[in-house]
C-alpha cells in the first residue's frame, strides 16, 4: 500500500515538475491513482502480499508505463517541445517579405462574371462533400505581392488593414483549413475591398494566376467599394469568372441571388469611436440626416422636409469653417452649430441613409451602431446579409421618390416598435457589422447554410437578439393539434414492492376506457415481480419492465413499449382516482398535448425573508406544478427528461430519490413556456409525494428538501421557468344544476 502511495507521490511530483501544459495530465494520473487505491483497498491487497523480487519488478514495470504515459502525453499535448519551432510557431514576418510575383502583360485574364451563375451551376459541391459537422472548409492563399512588368504594384494599398483582419479572423475560425485539397472555399489573399485602389486588369491577371483558380470555381472575393466614376458599377469590375462575390452595394441587377453575398460597407469609424449602447426610447430628434455628399436634389427635398416639420428634423452637413483635416470626418454642422459625429446619431430616432454614388454606404454601419433606426432610400439596393437578416425589423426601407413623405410614414410607426427597431438595429451591428471578423464569419456562415441547408441556422438564430433568445420559447410541439381519442394512452406505474396496492391501482386504471396499455416499471432489483398468473386480469396488454437500478428517473424513460403519444405516469399507491377522473384527464390532455396535465397541484413561492424559492403544498389558489404521481404528458418529454435534461438535475434526482416531478415540471415549463393544467377538484391524496414518510417532523424535512430542489433547479436552468396560474380544468357541466346521469363525467371529485 505504502509503496503505491510513494510512487504515486513521486509521479505526481514528477508531473508537477513538467509545469503548465502537463497539469491536465497530472489530473488524469492522479485520478487513476486514486481509483486504483480505492480499488485495491476493496479488492485483495495487491502489492503487500507480493515477494520483494516481484515487487521491484512490478514497480519497475509500473514506472515504465508511467514514463511512457508522460512521454506520450507530453508528445501529444505539448507539441512545441518536440516539433521543430519553425513549423509550429506563428510566423512573424513583415508584409513586405511576401514573395513577389511579376505579372506578364499578356498573362490571361479571367472572363467577366457570369450573371446566371448559381450554386448548382457554378459551384463545385463535390469539394465540400459530406461532413458530420456540416461545416465548410476554407483555405486562404498565402500572401504574395503582385507587380506588373514595370514593377508597379497592382494595388495602391497592398494588403489593407481590414482585409488582413478579415483573413486572420477566418483563419482563427472553425472554417479554416490549411490543406488546400480539403478546402471547399478558397479565398485569395489579393485585397479587392476597394476598387478605387486597384488596377482592374492586373488584379484580374493576378487572380487567374492563383494555383487553384480553375475559372474561379469556389473562390470567394470580398469587395466593399465597387465600381468607379462616372457611373459606378454596383459590383466589382474586376473580371472574376465563376468566383463568388461578397460585395457591398449590390443592386438587384448585379446580385446573383443565392450565389453572391451582400455584405455591409465596413465603417472604420467604429474602431475609433466607442459608442456605448443607448437605451431605446424617444430621442431629441425624430429624423436626422448626416450624410455630407448628398445630391443637391435630395438635399433640397430634405430642406423642404425640415421646413415643414421644424425641430424634429435635423439636417447636417460638412462643416465649412473647420480646417480641413482628419477631424472633419468626425464633425457635422447645422448652420454654425457643430456636432460630434457619430455621437449625434444617438440623439435621433431615425437616421436617413440615402444612396450616394454607390448604393452601399458606410454610414449604415454608423447608424446601426448608434441604435438609430436607418431609413434607407436606395432603390434596388440589396441590403447587407438580406438573405438571412430580416431588415423589416430593424429599418424602414422607402422608395426614393417617397422621400418627401417620409415624415408621415415614420410617424405612423408605433412607439414600441420604434424602440424594438432601435434595439434590433444595435443588435445587428453588434452581431454582424461591428468588425471585419463579424462580416467575414457571417458571410461564411451564409455560404455554409447554402451548402448544408438541412443544418442551416434558423430565422430566430439569425434575427433574435440575445435578450429575446434568452426569454423566448419555441416549443418543440408547436403545431396546434388535438390528437384523436382512439389510440388512447399508456399508463406507466412505477413500483418497488407494494404488490397489493399496485394490483389495486392496475385494476382501477384498467376501467378507464381510453387505456391502451399498462406498463409496470419494476424498480426493485432484489425481488422478482410476481408470476404472471398472480397479476390482475385486465383487458389491455400489461408489460413489466425490470430496471437495472432503483432510480426515480426510470419512470420517465422513453420505453419502446410506450406506443402512444400520451403517457399517464402514476404511482403504485394512487388508488383514489376514479375512472371518470382519469378519462377526463386524458380528454384534457388531448386539448393541451404540450402540457403536463395532472391531479394534485403544487406551487412555488418566493420567500422574501430567505431570498429564495419555497415549495408549497397547502390549499392554495394558484398552481405552478402538478405532481407526476398522477399526470398525463406527451411521450416526447420522456426523451427530453432522459437525454436533454440540463445540468446534473437527473443525477441529483436519482441521488436524492426525490423531486423527479419538480424536475419534469421545470423541464416542460422551460421548453413550452406554459403552465401545467391541474384537473378536477382537490382530493385527499395520501400525501402522494411522500410515500415512505410518516409523521410531521419528517414531513417538514420533506418540504425543506423539495424547496431545495426548486432552488437547485432554478439555478441550473438559470431562470424560474414555472408559470403560475389560477385555474384548473373541470368538465363543462361540473357541479352544474343538471342531471348527473347526462353528464359525461359524473363521478368527479368524490372523496
Amino acid at each position: 500500500m505504502s509503496a503505491v502511495w510513494r510512487s504515486c507521490e513521486r509521479a505526481a511530483a514528477c508531473v508537477r515538475a513538467l509545469g503548465g501544459p502537463a497539469k491536465w495530465l497530472s489530473r488524469i494520473v492522479g485520478f487513476s491513482m486514486c481509483a486504483s487505491m480505492k480499488y485495491s483497498s476493496r479488492g485483495p491487497a495487491l502489492i503487500p502480499r507480493m515477494k520483494t523480487k516481484h515487487r521491484v519488478y512490478y514497480i519497475a514495470l509500473f514506472s515504465i508505463v508511467l514514463l511512457g504515459l508522460i512521454a506520450t502525453g507530453a508528445f501529444q499535448f505539448w507539441p512545441h517541445s518536440i516539433e521543430s519551432a519553425a513549423e509550429w510557431s506563428v510566423e512573424r514576418r513583415s508584409v513586405h517579405d511576401a514573395p513577389l510575383v511579376r505579372l506578364l502583360a499578356n498573362s490571361p485574364i479571367p472572363e467577366r462574371g457570369d450573371l446566371s451563375c448559381r450554386m448548382h451551376t457554378c459551384f463545385n459541391v463535390y469539394s465540400c462533400g459530406y461532413n458530420p459537422k456540416n461545416r465548410i472548409k476554407v483555405y486562404i492563399y498565402p500572401l504574395q505581392r503582385y507587380v506588373d512588368e514595370l514593377g508597379t504594384p497592382i494595388s495602391s494599398t497592398g494588403l489593407s488593414r481590414e482585409y488582413n483582419e478579415l483573413l486572420s479572423a477566418i483563419s482563427d475560425s472553425d472554417f479554416y483549413t490549411d490543406d488546400v485539397s480539403r478546402a471547399c472555399l478558397l479565398i485569395p489573399s489579393i485585397d479587392v475591398l476597394n476598387q478605387n485602389s486597384l488596377r482592374v486588369r492586373e488584379t484580374a491577371q493576378a487572380l487567374a494566376m492563383l494555383p487553384r483558380w480553375d475559372r474561379g470555381t469556389n473562390h470567394l472575393l470580398f469587395n466593399m467599394l465597387p465600381g468607379g466614376p462616372p457611373d459606378y458599377n454596383t459590383a466589382l469590375d474586376v473580371p472574376r469568372d465563376k468566383a463568388l462575390l461578397a460585395g457591398g452595394g449590390f443592386s438587384t441587377w448585379t446580385y446573383r441571388q443565392g450565389y453572391d453575398v451582400s455584405v455591409p460597407v465596413y465603417s472604420p469609424l467604429s474602431a475609433e469611436v466607442d459608442l456605448p449602447e443607448k437605451q431605446p426610447g424617444p430621442r431629441r430628434y425624430f429624423i436626422l440626416s448626416s450624410q455630407t455628399a448628398l445630391h443637391r436634389e435630395y438635399r433640397a427635398e430634405l430642406e423642404r422636409l425640415k421646413e415643414e416639420n421644424g425641430e424634429a428634423v435635423l439636417l447636417l452637413d460638412k462643416c465649412s469653417n473647420l480646417s480641413q483635416g482628419a477631424m472633419s470626418a468626425r464633425k457635422r454642422c447645422y448652420k454654425s452649430q457643430v456636432f460630434d459625429y457619430p455621437q449625434i446619431l444617438q440623439e435621433s430616432s431615425f437616421c436617413v441613409v440615402l444612396r450616394g454614388a454607390r448604393l452601399g454606404q458606410a454610414i449604415l454601419s454608423d447608424v446601426l451602431q448608434a441604435g438609430c433606426v436607418p431609413v434607407i432610400l436606395a432603390d434596388s439596393y440589396i441590403l447587407p446579409f438580406s438573405e438571412v437578416l430580416d431588415w423589416k425589423r430593424a429599418s424602414v426601407v422607402i422608395p426614393e421618390d417617397k422621400l418627401p413623405e417620409i415624415y408621415t410614414i415614420l410617424k405612423s410607426i408605433p412607439h414600441r416598435q420604434v424602440e424594438e427597431m432601435q434595439r434590433q438595429a444595435r443588435w445587428f451591428w453588434d452581431a454582424y457589422f461591428s468588425s471585419m471578423k463579424a462580416i467575414g464569419l457571417t458571410t461564411l456562415q451564409i455560404i455554409n447554410d447554402r451548402i448544408y441547408p438541412y443544418a442551416a441556422r434558423t430565422y430566430e438564430q439569425w434575427n433574435n437578439p440575445p435578450v429575446v433568445k434568452w426569454s423566448s420559447v419555441n416549443s418543440p410541439l408547436f403545431l396546434p393539434l388535438i390528437p384523436p381519442r382512439s389510440p388512447g394512452f399508456t399508463a406507466v406505474v412505477l413500483t418497488y414492492d407494494r404488490i397489493e396496492s399496485l394490483f389495486r391501482v392496475i385494476t382501477e386504471i384498467s376501467k378507464v376506457p381510453s387505456l391502451a396499455k399498462l406498463l409496470v416499471v419494476w424498480n426493485n432489483q432484489n425481488k422478482s415481480p410476481p408470476e404472471d398468473s398472480l397479476w390482475p386480469k385486465i383487458n389491455v396488454p400489461l408489460k413489466v419492465v425490470r430496471t437495472k437500478e432503483n432510480k426515480l428517473s426510470n419512470r420517465f424513460f422513453p420505453y419502446d413499449e410506450i406506443e402512444t403519444e400520451a403517457v399517464l405516469a402514476i404511482d403504485d399507491d394512487i388508488i383514489m382516482l376514479t375512472s371518470d377522473e382519469l378519462q377526463f384527464g386524458y380528454e384534457v390532455w388531448r386539448e393541451f398535448p404540450d402540457r403536463l396535465v395532472g391531479y394534485p397541484g403544487r406551487l412555488h413561492l418566493w420567500d422574501h425573508e430567505m431570498g429564495k424559492w419555497k415549495y408549497e403544498s397547502e390549499w392554495t389558489n394558484e398552481v405552478s406544478m402538478v405532481l407526476t404521481g398522477a399526470a398525463f404528458y406527451h411521450k416526447y418529454f420522456n426523451y427530453l427528461y432522459t437525454y436533454k435534461m440540463p445540468g446534473d438535475i437527473k443525477n441529483w434526482v436519482d441521488a436524492h430519490m426525490n423531486c423527479e416531478d419538480i424536475a419534469m415540471n421545470f423541464l416542460v415549463a422551460n421548453i413550452t413556456g406554459k403552465a401545467p393544467i391541474k384537473v378536477t377538484p382537490r382530493k385527499k391524496f395520501k400525501c402522494p409525494e411522500c410515500t415512505a414518510i410518516d409523521g410531521l417532523s419528517l414531513d417538514q424535512t420533506h418540504m425543506v428538501e423539495r424547496s431545495e430542489c426548486i432552488n437547485k433547479f432554478a439555478s441550473v436552468f438559470g431562470t424560474m421557468p414555472l408559470k403560475v396560474v389560477e385555474h384548473r380544468a373541470d368538465p363543462v357541466l361540473y357541479k352544474d344544476d343538471f342531471p348527473e346521469k347526462l353528464k359525461s363525467f359524473p363521478n368527479i371529485g368524490s372523496l
Partner: protein, 845 residues
C-alpha cells in the same frame, strides 16, 4: 458514446496503411471494452463528476433546449472535448487488469502472469503511443487548438497597414451625375422585360393610399375556354377583399384569358394570346399586370417561354427557374392540380406528434422515369438508392404512348417492383419523400408530400421555391442537390429526431397557411405583391413563417409583433395587465337601477379594467355625460350606428390588448371578470368567455346544426361576455368579406358565432369557457333589447343555424372545434374554508 464512435470512424478514414488498421482494431476493441468498464466503474463513486459532465454535454447538444447555463455552453459544444476522451478512457483497464490479476494470483502462476502483464503494458503503451499520434493528427485536422496549425500570419508591421479606404472617401461618396429623378426615369427604359423589377416595371402611382391595393379581372370573352384551375383562380380574386370591378381604381390587373397551360401540345392551350392582350386598352406593355401560369414550354426542352410577349407583366408561375426568375418581381407558385379545392381545403394529415418520429420507411419515391430528354438524368438515377427496406425508390418507364420503343434493360424489373407498393400507403408511412424534378422543375409531389406530413427532399436544381420571397423553406423541407443524390440517404439518416419533429410540423403549418386551397395560393400571391407595393407597411419574415401564417396577419393593423396575440411566447413577452370593456347598449337610459348601471359598478371594481367604452346603439340619442355614474376609469360613449357588427369594429379608442365585450344586461361579478381575465392572459389568442354553445353535424339533413342546450361539449362561447385580443376586431372587419358582415347586420344576429368562427379558424383550437356563478338562469334574458324576447323566438334560433351554415360555406370548412372542459378557480367548490378562496363570490348563489 456518439463522440467515441465518431472518433473511431474518423480514425478509420485516416488510417492509410494495413498495420495501422490492425492496431486500430485492437485499439477500438480496447476502447469499446473500456467504455463498458467505465460505466461499471462509475457505480463506485456516486455522483461521479464524469457522469455529470456527460449528461451535461448531451444537453448542450440540443438545439431545441433553452439553455440558461451561466457558463458558455454554446462554446463548449463548438469545440468537442476530443482530447479528453481518448486519454481518459484507456485508464481503467489497467486498474481492472491488475485487479483481476491480483485475484488470480498464485505463486506458480506469478511469473507467467508478469510476462503477460508486461506484454499487456507494452501493447497498451504502444497503442497509446500510436493512437496518440492518430489523435494528434485528428486534432490537427479538426482544428481544436488555434495555435496548432499555421494561421494567416500575424504580420510584424500590421499596425502600419493602410485602411482599405479613408474616412473622407467613405463619407464623401459624391455623385455628380444626372439627377436622381432622371436616373430613375432612365432606368425604366433600361431595365425592362427580362430585367424587370418593381421600381422599373411597376406603376406605384396606381396604388394610392392604404386601401389602394385593388385588383381588376378582365371579363372573359365569349367563347373562351377557361380551365377549371383558372376558373378557381379568377373566382378567388373576385371574391377577395381586393377585388374591384372598376379598372380605373385598380392597382393590379389579371387577365381573363386562361394562361395556365402554355404547352402548345396541350388541349388547354389558348392561341393568339399576344394579339388579344395587345388589344386590351390598359395593357400598357403589361405594366401592373399579373399573369398566372402553371405549365410553360413543351417537349423536348420545356423552356420557360409562355408563347407570348409578357413584357412588363409580373409572372405568378409554377416551376420557375432561378435564372428566369426576376427577383422581387415574379412570384413562384406551387403546381396544383385541377382538383385542388377552391376554399378551405383539407387539413394536413398529421394528427399527432408520434415519438420517435420516424415512420416505417425512411425515404420514398414512386414515379415516372424518363429515359431520355430533360430531367432524365435525375430520374434515371433514383433507383440507385432503392434498398427495398427503409428506402423505397421506385420508377417506371411505363408512361406515354411509345414507352416500349425507348425501354432499357431495367424497365421490366423496375415495373415489377413498381407495382408492389401503393403510393398512398408509402405517403402515409414515410418520414421523407423525394421530390425530384420531372420534365419541369416543380411537381404535384411537392404539395402531396407537404400535406401528407412527409418531409419533402427536393432534388430540383435551380427551382425557385413557391413563395420563396417570404417562406423559409429550409425549416420545412430538405433541399438536396441533384448532383449529390447518393448522399441523400446519409443526410436524412443523420437528421435528429427533434429536427424531424420540427420539420414535419412545419410542413403542416405551411400547408395549412398557404397551400391547402386555391384561395390561399392566390391570396398569398396577392399579399406578397401588396407587401411589395406598401413595403413600409408590410409583414416581416417572422409573421410569414410563424403560426398562424401571413394571411391572417394584417400589417395595416400594426407591424409590431407585440401587438398581435400570436407572438408572445416566441418574443418572450406576456400580454398586458389591463383590459378595455366594450359595452353594447341598446336600451335607452331611464333609471339608475338598469342592468347597465350594475355592470358599470362591477367593472369599476375590477383592478384590471383600464377603460370602458359604451357603444350606443339605441334608437334614442345617448344621455348626457352627467347621467353616467362617476367612474374611476375613463368612460367613453361612442355611436355604434345601430349596427350589430359595430361591437367588433376596430375602435381606435381601445388601447389595451384585451377586450371584454359585454351585452348591457350581462350579470357578472367582479371576481368572475377578474378570474376570466387571468385565464385570458394564459390563452391570449383564444376567446375566453362564459355561456357556451355548440354546433353539430346533422347527418339526416346534411347541414350543420346549432344548439344552445346544455351539453357536455361546446365549440362557441357567446361574446355577450367574453375576453379576446383586440386584434380580432381588425380581422373581423377587414379579413372577413363584407357579405358576411352584411348578413350579421341585416339579421342583427350571429355576430358572436361569426367571431367564434373567425378565432377558431385562426387558432384551430376551441374557445375557453370559464366558471360562472348561476348559469342556469341565464338564457332568457333579452339579449337584443329592442327586439325583446328574441331568445324565445324560434326564428331567432333557425336564423342562427342558417348563419352557421353560411359561415361554414364561406370558410370552406367547419373551423369550430369542440372542447369538453371548463376552467374554474383552483379551489372552486372544494371543501375548504371559503376564506381560503380567492374567488369567494363565485360560489355564493
Amino acid at each position: 458514446m456518439g463522440e467515441q464512435q465518431w472518433l473511431r470512424r474518423s480514425i478509420l478514414q485516416l488510417m492509410p496503411h494495413g498495420n495501422f488498421t490492425l492496431l486500430y482494431r485492437i485499439w477500438t476493441r480496447k476502447v469499446m471494452k473500456t467504455s463498458d468498464t467505465v460505466t461499471d466503474f462509475q457505480t463506485f463513486k456516486s455522483g461521479d463528476e464524469r457522469n455529470g459532465e456527460r449528461s451535461h454535454r448531451g444537453s448542450a447538444g440540443s438545439g431545441a433546449m433553452r439553455m440558461h447555463g451561466p457558463e458558455g455552453e454554446e462554446e463548449r459544444r463548438e469545440s468537442p472535448g476530443l482530447p479528453q476522451s481518448p486519454i481518459r478512457l484507456p485508464q481503467p483497464p489497467s486498474v481492472e487488469g491488475r485487479a483481476r490479476a491480483g485475484r488470480r494470483e498464485t505463486s506458480m502462476q506469478a511469473r507467467k502472469k508478469y510476462v503477460f502483464l508486461s506484454a499487456c503494458a507494452c501493447c497498451w503503451l504502444l497503442l497509446v503511443y500510436w493512437g496518440g499520434i492518430q489523435v494528434r493528427l485528428l486534432r490537427l485536422l479538426g482544428r481544436l487548438r488555434a495555435d496548432d496549425i499555421r494561421l494567416w500570419p500575424e504580420w510584424v508591421d500590421q499596425d502600419l497597414l493602410l485602411g482599405y479606404a479613408n474616412l473622407e472617401e467613405l463619407q464623401a461618396d459624391a455623385w455628380a451625375g444626372e439627377s436622381p429623378q432622371q436616373r430613375r426615369q432612365g432606368w425604366s427604359g433600361i431595365y425592362k422585360d427580362g430585367r424587370c423589377r418593381m421600381e422599373t416595371c411597376f406603376d406605384f402611382s396606381r396604388c394610392r393610399g392604404r386601401d389602394g391595393f385593388r385588383v381588376y379581372v378582365y371579363p372573359p370573352e365569349k367563347g373562351d375556354r377557361i380551365s377549371e384551375s383558372y376558373r378557381k383562380i379568377l373566382a378567388s380574386i373576385t371574391e377577395s377583399r381586393y377585388h374591384t370591378s372598376d379598372p380605373h381604381e385598380a392597382c393590379l390587373f389579371v387577365l381573363g384569358i386562361d394562361t395556365l397551360d402554355r404547352d402548345q401540345l396541350s388541349a388547354q392551350y389558348v392561341p393568339n394570346v399576344d394579339e388579344r392582350i395587345r388589344n386590351y386598352p390598359l395593357w400598357n406593355d403589361g405594366r401592373n399586370h399579373l399573369i398566372f401560369n402553371l405549365y410553360s414550354g413543351t417537349w423536348p426542352n420545356y423552356t420557360e417561354d409562355l408563347g407570348f410577349r409578357v413584357g412588363q407583366a409580373m409572372l405568378a408561375k409554377a416551376s420557375l427557374n432561378v435564372e428566369h426568375f426576376r427577383p422581387g418581381f415574379d412570384i413562384s407558385i406551387p403546381l396544383f392540380s385541377k382538383d385542388h379545392p377552391q376554399k378551405g381545403g383539407e387539413r394536413g394529415w398529421l394528427e399527432r406528434n408520434t415519438v420517435p418520429p420516424r415512420r416505417k420507411y425512411l425515404l420514398m419515391f414512386k414515379g415516372k422515369r424518363y429515359l431520355t430528354g430533360i430531367g432524365s438524368d435525375t430520374r434515371n438515377a433514383l433507383h440507385h438508392i432503392h434498398n427495398g427496406k427503409d428506402i423505397v425508390s421506385l420508377t417506371t418507364c411505363r408512361h406515354g404512348k411509345d414507352w416500349e420503343k425507348h425501354k432499357d434493360g431495367r424497365c421490366d424489373h423496375d415495373n415489377l417492383e413498381y407495382e408492389r407498393y401503393d403510393y398512398q400507403e408509402l405517403l402515409h408511412n414515410s418520414t421523407f419523400c423525394l421530390v425530384p424534378r420531372g420534365r419541369r422543375l416543380g411537381s404535384f409531389r411537392f404539395l402531396e408530400s407537404l400535406q401528407a406530413a412527409c418531409i419533402p427532399v427536393l432534388l430540383s436544381n435551380g427551382w425557385e421555391l413557391p413563395f420563396s420571397d417570404v417562406i423559409q423553406w429550409n425549416q420545412a423541407v430538405i433541399e438536396g442537390d441533384e448532383r449529390l443524390l447518393l448522399q441523400v440517404p446519409t443526410t436524412v439518416r443523420a437528421l435528429s429526431d427533434e429536427r424531424i419533429l420540427a420539420l414535419r410540423q412545419r410542413t403542416q403549418m405551411l400547408w395549412d397557411a398557404y397551400l391547402s386551397s386555391v384561395d390561399k395560393i392566390v391570396l398569398t400571391t396577392l399579399e406578397i405583391i401588396k407587401d411589395r407595393v406598401f413595403s413600409y407597411v408590410s409583414r416581416n419574415k417572422l409573421m410569414w413563417n410563424a403560426l398562424p401564417g401571413g394571411l391572417l396577419v394584417l400589417p395595416e393593423y400594426s407591424t409590431h409583433l407585440a401587438h398581435f396575440p400570436f407572438y408572445y411566447l416566441s418574443q418572450g413577452i406576456s400580454p398586458g395587465q389591463e383590459f378595455t370593456a366594450v359595452i353594447h347598449a341598446v336600451s335607452p337610459l331611464v333609471s339608475q337601477s338598469q342592468p347597465i348601471m350594475r355592470l358599470l359598478q362591477v367593472l369599476s371594481k375590477s383592478k384590471f379594467c383600464s377603460q370602458i367604452i359604451i357603444l350606443w346603439n339605441s334608437e334614442k340619442p345617448p344621455p348626457a355625460k352627467s347621467k353616467w355614474p362617476p367612474m374611476p376609469v375613463p368612460l367613453t360613449v361612442m355611436d355604434g350606428r345601430k349596427k350589430t357588427t359595430s361591437r367588433f369594429l376596430p375602435h381606435v379608442a381601445i388601447e389595451t390588448e384585451a377586450v371584454l365585450n359585454l351585452d348591457e344586461d350581462t350579470a357578472l361579478l367582479t371576481s368572475e371578470v377578474n378570474f376570466a381575465f387571468t385565464v385570458w392572459r394564459s390563452f391570449p389568442e383564444r376567446i375566453v368567455g362564459y355561456p357556451p354553445r355548440s354546433h353539430f353535424w346533422d347527418p339526416v339533413k346534411q347541414v350543420w346544426g346549432y344548439t344552445s342546450k346544455w351539453t357536455n361539449e361546446y365549440s362557441i362561447v357567446l361574446t355577450g361576455a367574453a375576453f379576446y385580443h383586440r386584434y380580432y376586431h381588425h380581422l373581423f372587419s377587414q379579413y372577413l368579406p363584407p357579405s358576411l358582415r352584411a348578413l350579421v347586420d341585416h339579421t342583427s344576429n350571429c355576430e358572436d358565432i361569426l367571431m367564434n368562427f373567425l378565432v377558431s379558424s385562426v387558432t384551430h383550437l376551441p374557445p375557453i369557457k370559464v366558471a360562472q356563478r348561476k348559469q342556469h338562469k341565464e338564457p332568457p334574458s333579452p339579449q337584443q333589447g329592442v327586439k325583446n324576447g328574441a331568445w324565445s323566438n324560434p326564428e331567432h334560433f333557425t336564423q342562427r343555424q342558417e348563419c352557421v351554415n353560411a359561415f361554414a360555406a364561406w370558410f370552406g370548412y367547419m373551423p369550430l372545434v369542440n372542447s369538453q372542459l371548463r376552467l374554474d378557480p383552483v379551489l372552486f367548490k372544494d371543501q375548504v374554508s371559503i376564506l381560503r378562496k380567492k374567488y369567494k363570490d363565485m360560489e355564493r348563489s
